[in-house]
């Protein structure tokens, strides 16, 4: 029941915020914040104790199955393992950040704004916990509509173009996934006589190689668009740039993660052979994304667009790791997922704060802002350093684990990906140099961070430092889940040789290198 409550609270909070917000914008804000706070407390209180369960009791810490459309083999099946728990906590944490950073930015139709924000979050929570493929698709599509409204109603200049592009890309790719889901349903049904969309039942379905590849690609395209992977990333720069700050935070911090989660949870476990055959292509695309994203990021003049392109680069690492499919790479992918959410989310918040003060995102018009807003500059410096992978901050741990994990399987690709880190240093320092140092190109008079803004960035800083120096709790939480995902379903050949897994205090040691 706790999983239902986790999803229902934001839904209900959203409706309440919409009703209250018509006359009292302030009430809508507080409702949204209270609902998410309550949800976070509930998640901490309800999910963390479940982590202590003995591992032999199965992979699912919490498992809830209710009939929904039994005539078609569709169930309302929600479950959480360690991976889901980590992502749920990330969702709620960034959700609160998103509410907090839109506290003053959103002045009109506040109630409806928070309604959409809460419904996106509920859809994301559903995606991270749904174990019925139909239900998963349901949530997958459900989170797109409010996001569309967030962009179209509260976005910047070119919002209509960006929102429609975003929706079309994800929707068409999603429909391909739906066709693949139904295909899998029939393959499994014809083989076993049981027609079901239930994920645990569908695991290990045997199918001819060609069909398996076709179905796998149906899933892959949907997740690759969301991730985003090169060359289907083209919606992302527009959507991120035009969305309001909270929308960008949710997009970069959470929506992209649903793509990575889908690859982890569905593509590789459901189609092990097809995915293994496809891995070289996927890993090449991932490295292309890393380098291409970094290159384009460097050539942007719109600060928000720059940060958007860094996402393409960083999420390339995640896809690289997922298709390497060994324990260390997957642990790295998980850390990278979380840290990218935090650091990019923070950078978008910072861009939002700059835009609120300067009314522009043009890097060429900024410069020497540090003098007037040292605290803002300091935070920007910190998150830029996190983004370039400075040891001691979370992203370093993720990228480092990924590179070590992938190297034995694809040395050349790993070397190329590592070159992406160099590019990351260039564009990250470029942001700081152009915006906060150098000569003042225009006479800006801006104020430094307010208490609320300091609190938002401070919390994000604490999180990213914590993950940088002591990521072990996160790794331990998700380890059984990741190990279970990697367990080859019966009949599949053993996975490729892999390096020794991180254990004990290794993560800490990594961070200190």
């Amino acid at each position: 029941m706790i999983l239902i409550a986790l999803i229902a609270i934001p839904l209900a909070g959203g409706v309440l915020a919409a009703l209250l917000g018509r006359h009292h914008p302030g009430a809508a804000r507080w409702t949204a914040l209270a609902a998410l706070g309550l949800d976070l407390i509930l998640a901490l209180a309800g999910l963390l104790p479940a982590l202590t369960r003995p591992p032999q009791a199965g992979p699912w810490l919490i498992d809830l199955g209710l009939p929904w459309i039994p005539s078609l083999g569709i169930g309302f099946h929600l479950a959480a393992d360690g991976l889901s728990v980590v992502l749920i906590l990330l969702t709620l944490f960034l959700g609160i950040v998103a509410v907090a950073c839109s506290w003053r930015e959103i002045g009109e139709r506040t109630g409806f704004f928070f309604f959409n924000l809460m419904w996106v979050l509920a859809g994301i929570l559903g995606v991270f916990t749904a174990l019925d493929l139909f239900l998963f698709y349901f949530f997958w599509e459900l989170m797109m509509v409010p996001m569309f409204f967030l962009i179209i109603l509260w976005g910047h200049e070119n919002r209509i173009y960006a929102a429609i592009k975003f929706f079309l890309f994800t929707q068409i790719a999603g429909l391909l996934m739906l066709a693949a889901i139904i295909g899998l349903y029939f393959v499994h049904g014809r083989a076993t006589g049981v027609y079901t969309f239930d994920y645990p039942a569908l695991l290990g379905t045997r199918m001819p190689a060609g069909l398996g590849m076709a179905l796998m690609l149906g899933f892959f395209v949907a997740f690759a668009v969301k991730l985003p992977a090169f060359p289907v990333h083209v919606w992302l720069p527009d959507a991120h740039t035009e969305a309001p700050t909270a929308g960008s935070v949710v997009l970069a911090g959470l929506l992209l993660k649903t793509g990575a989660y889908g690859l982890l949870r569905f593509v590789l476990p459901l189609f092990p052979e097809a995915a293994r055959a496809f891995a070289p292509v996927a890993m090449t695309l991932a490295v292309a994304g890393i380098l291409y994203g970094a290159l384009l990021a460097f050539s942007q003049t719109d600060l928000k667009r720059l940060v958007a392109y860094t996402s393409v680069s960083h999420m390339g690492f995640v896809m690289l790791a997922v298709f390497a499919w060994n324990e260390m790479a997957l642990q790295g992918a998980l850390i990278q997922i979380i840290c990218h959410g935090l650091s990019t989310g923070a950078l978008f918040v910072i861009v939002g704060m700059l835009q609120e003060r300067l009314h522009t995102r043009d890097l060429r018009r900024m410069g020497a802002l540090w003098n007037q807003a040292p605290r803002l500059g300091g935070f920007a410096m910190l998150f830029a350093l996190a983004s370039l992978g400075l040891p001691g901050l979370g992203n370093f741990v993720g990228e480092f684990l990924i590179l070590i994990g992938v190297f034995p399987q694809a040395p050349i690709l790993t070397i190329l990906a590592a070159a992406g880190l160099v590019a990351a240093s260039i564009y990250s320092l470029w942001i700081v140099q152009q915006a906060f140092h150098g000569t003042a190109r225009e006479q800006w008079r801006i104020r430094d961070l307010s208490g609320r803004e300091t609190a938002i960035l401070g919390v994000l800083t604490a999180a990213i430092v914590w993950l940088g120096v002591y990521p072990q709790p996160v790794i331990e939480t998700a380890r059984p889940a990741l190990a279970h995902l990697r367990q080859a379903p019966d009949g599949a050949p053993a996975p490729a040789p892999e390096p020794v897994a991180v254990s004990g205090r290794q993560g800490e040691i990594d961070a200190q290198r």
Binding site: P67, S71, E141, L142, A163, L175, L178, I182
Partner: protein, 478 residues
């Protein structure tokens, strides 16, 4: 005729009686509200006798008609759509100076024709039902007869429908010449003769029949009339044409094709597959650049019928429930969309340009929310009935292994998304200038709002908890 036959015919008889009663009422006393009440009462009585008639199913009533769950479902759909149309018509014609009462009489007659169509299993009944429906529709489309656009649409529909009726009749004649009977089952029997012995007359007749049916369903390339008629007709009538009339025709097509085995008739399969693909591509592409909401919906309905045809071609066990669910979802969404348009129109001025709806969200948020929900349903987004419908169609198509049609469906509905989003974006854009909206007052406003509320609730209910309807439809066979 036996006692059971009469009992099974009760829905048609009550509906006919309602026609007569409304006509007599109009003759005795012209009163807009009273006519509406009597119309609704007649339709409600039709619904009320359906369980009684249902006790005798499945039953063949003479050689012409049949009553089974399939027919009953479509009758219920048609009657409910007619009720909604009547209520919308009340709001629409309330302030109009002309004779308003005959609208309801024509509507009842059209509904009767549609019900006959969905019960028919014989070409004679098919033609009778079709003509009852069409003749009432000619008048309905041109009902505000001083408005040029309506009259033009009515004439257009008259000419093209008469033409297509010619094709149908000639096709039926050829079939009869070949098989010596007008029963639908003759078609399946004739096609099951393998290979070279296939009678040419039968194939020619079938081709002509498909032309006629294609006209009625507005499949590409027989779709030319659709946009003009949708645009010219009064909004409530457009709603009726898009829902009740299409549903009846789909029911008939399913009944005609369901007994066939497409393996013995690959030509027929190829023709229908080509029609389906052309409708999906053509409908969606033509809708992209339209400036009128009614025209967009017209072209989108062409595409939707293409999707339905995919399910029909799949011919697997899931196809009949898929078609039925899809038509229910489609009917709800179309009624809601045209309902919103009707609520902004009067018999003098039709609100159909996209610009007319710019910024509606800021002035009438609930109205905009309803239209958004309807459009999202047509686009097949979750939490709406349209999503389950599209899912069901893809399910049926996959079961029938129609891979190319499925891929066409997926890609073209992606195109379709664009124009639905275009309308939604317009609704939520800033309004350019405040303007006066014709707001019906009193009972008229209430009747329209009631339709919209009920359709929205049903739309979301079927989208969130479709199990009850799915289970009901699961084992239906025509």
């Amino acid at each position: 005729m036996h006692n059971a036959d009469f009992m099974a015919l009760l829905p048609l008889m009550v509906l006919s009686a309602a026609c007569a009663a409304v006509m007599l009422l109009i003759a005795a006393r012209r009163h807009h509200g009273l006519t509406l009440v009597l119309t609704l009462a007649g339709l409600a009585a039709t619904l009320a006798v359906m369980p009684e008639a249902g006790r005798w199913m499945p039953i063949r009533i003479t050689a012409l008609l049949t009553l089974d769950t399939f027919a009953l479902f479509f009758i219920a759909l048609i009657v409910l759509a007619t009720m909604a149309t009547a209520l919308l018509g009340y709001a629409y014609f309330d302030a109009w100076g002309g004779h308003r009462e005959e609208f309801y009489l024509l509507l009842l007659i059209a509904a009767l024709g549609a019900c006959v169509l969905s019960m028919s299993r014989h070409f004679a009944a098919f033609f009778i039902g079709l003509e009852i429906l069409s003749i009432a529709l000619y008048a309905l489309i041109a009902y505000p007869r001083r408005r040029a656009a309506s009259v033009e649409a009515g004439i257009k529909y008259l000419v093209l429908a008469a033409g297509s009726a010619g094709f149908l009749l000639f096709g039926m004649a050829l079939l009869y010449a070949d098989r010596g009977t007008l029963d639908f089952s003759a078609l399946a029997a004739g096609l099951s003769t393998p290979g070279q012995d296939r009678p040419l007359l039968l194939l020619a007749g079938l081709a002509l029949l498909m032309v006629g049916v294609g006209f009625k369903l507005a499949l590409v390339p027989f779709h030319m009339w659709t946009a003009d008629v949708y645009q010219g007709a009064p909004a409530p009538v457009t709603a009726f044409v898009a829902t009740a009339s299409k549903s009846a025709m789909v029911a008939l097509l399913v009944r005609l094709l369901a007994p066939l085995d497409f393996n013995t008739a690959p030509e027929l399969f190829d023709i229908l597959a080509a029609l389906a693909a052309a409708s999906m591509v053509g409908g969606n592409l033509l809708a992209l650049r339209q400036q009128s909401v009614k025209r967009i919906l017209a072209y989108s309905s062409i595409a939707h019928l293409g999707y339905v045809l995919v399910a029909i071609l799949a011919a697997g066990p899931a196809f009949v429930p898929a078609v039925m669910f899809y038509m229910a979802a489609y009917t709800l969404a179309q009624l809601g969309s045209f309902g919103v348009i009707a609520m902004h129109s009067t018999a003098e001025t039709e609100a159909d340009s996209l610009e007319r709806f710019r910024g509606l969200f800021h002035q009438r948020p609930w109205m905009a929310a309803v239209l958004t929900a309807m459009l999202l349903s047509l686009a097949g987004i979750p939490l709406t009935a349209g999503f389950i419908g599209k899912f069901y169609v893809i399910l049926a198509g996959t079961q029938g292994r129609l891979w190319w049609l499925i891929i066409t469906l997926v890609l073209t509905s992606g195109i379709g998304l664009f124009y639905y989003l275009r309308i939604i974006v317009t609704l939520f854009s800033p309004a350019q200038a405040p303007r006066t909206t014709p707001t019906a007052a009193g009972p008229a406003a209430f009747s329209g709002a009631a339709v919209l509320t009920v359709t929205t609730i049903l739309l979301v209910w079927l989208g969130a908890l479709p199990e009850s309807l799915v289970r009901l439809l699961q084992h239906v066979t025509p």
